[in-house]
Symmetry: C2
Amino acid sequence: MTTADPESSDNLHAVFALPPGRALDICLNIQTALLEHKLAPGVKLSEDEVGEIYGVSRTVVRAALQALAHSNLVTIRKNRGAFVAEPSIREAHEVFQARALIEPAVARMAAQAMTDEQLAGLKAHLEAEHVALHKEDMGRALFHSGGFHTAIAEIADHRVFTSMVRSLISRSSLIIALYWKRSDTACESHSHHALMRAFELRDAAMAESIQKSHIIDLHSGLDLREKPRGDSSLSAALGRTG
Amino acid sequence: MTTADPESSDNLHAVFALPPGRALDICLNIQTALLEHKLAPGVKLSEDEVGEIYGVSRTVVRAALQALAHSNLVTIRKNRGAFVAEPSIREAHEVFQARALIEPAVARMAAQAMTDEQLAGLKAHLEAEHVALHKEDMGRALFHSGGFHTAIAEIADHRVFTSMVRSLISRSSLIIALYWKRSDTACESHSHHALMRAFELRDAAMAESIQKSHIIDLHSGLDLREKPRGDSSLSAALGRTG
DNA sequence: TGCCCAAAGATTGTATACGATCGTGAATTG
DNA sequence: CAATTCACGATCGTATACAATCTTTGGGCA
């Protein structure tokens, strides 16, 4: 179980570049909530409110929110406050383009470095995802799916890439919350298991190729057409009241 | 001149995810100082001291330092304070590996999108670098060299990659300050001008290829052998006094 | 003489207070 | 009745004060 625990914040703090402390805890808590889709894009994160929840002053909360803002998970608007980020369609494309470049290269490195223990750890991620899926806990399933991708980067043992991947995956979670269109989530399982086979074989080229296809497939699972979102269309959509 | 002004902080703030304000100004100021090698790795950035320089309270300084820490330009040690980061040898390798993956792809995109105006802008960067080199102002030359790489990412018009490239280049500046071994800096000019030719021809494949070679060349210009650095060697180096 | 420990100084971590800015709603006017 | 303006409330931006922690330095002891 220990090897499979995705919540272990051993060196997770590296992403936020904060010294261990309460601010980091808040960051990690909010990040997890985002990854599990417990916090929707656009939700306001009032400093007072967050501070009261965690029992700290606004000073600490501000540090946490700024760190999250730097990871593009939160948007800070001057004199307005912090909100869960709402990635634009353009940003969604860019994030998945970046993933399509970086993650295959990372998968290749991971395949070469993979130990049996790490292989088992990856499998545990997939099982956790499967269990969550079976319970129809989509949020948790997505969380473990992201954990799988992150774990691969960690196995590649490349901190710069790991940091990038972690950041991109967090942003992907928000993007999926906004733009996911595919109803069948089984797509995950197939690609991930195919990737596992490549890792078992230590076939770097195969891992790279599968991961690239997988990311492109995820990208295509988004509905990124321009829509008349927001309140501008609201009046038109409703017509006259009554 | 306007198109060539590399200091323009138009959307430079996107890297730090801070609302416009004094904290951002401090970030940008310190970042520029780092890029110009006016601030050496390891230098302590006392909150009081920085605050007095810019005429703000520690609150603002802390926000700036945390933003810089998130960009890996500054290291914050609990109860110790903030220091200009000292990238390890491993980190140096990783940063240039990341650049070798990302920047060629970005160069390809830029070559396809390049307008004549943007081409002129890039040329201006090279000229500025040349002028600084002629004045033997190495710091400023390096600054413009980095600006050239950043400008390419901006032309590619991909914010996610641009942000990554900017971050990697900033870190590269620290790495070069610590590990640069090559005395001839003319290598820059050659690769950069070759890249310009590819851009003029709108040859995406050529631009990608040249950029990849260029990054690998830069990487090889570093002396990344393990050395007995630091004070541990100091006593040995000095022997007994007198 | 060298090492260990303790107290003072300096610096950061956190909380709180006050001023500035923005959003909202009611009142007023065309 | 609709549009505009103004004042109020809420929230953030910043400064300052106090508490916690680390570093340093001086003295004591083996």
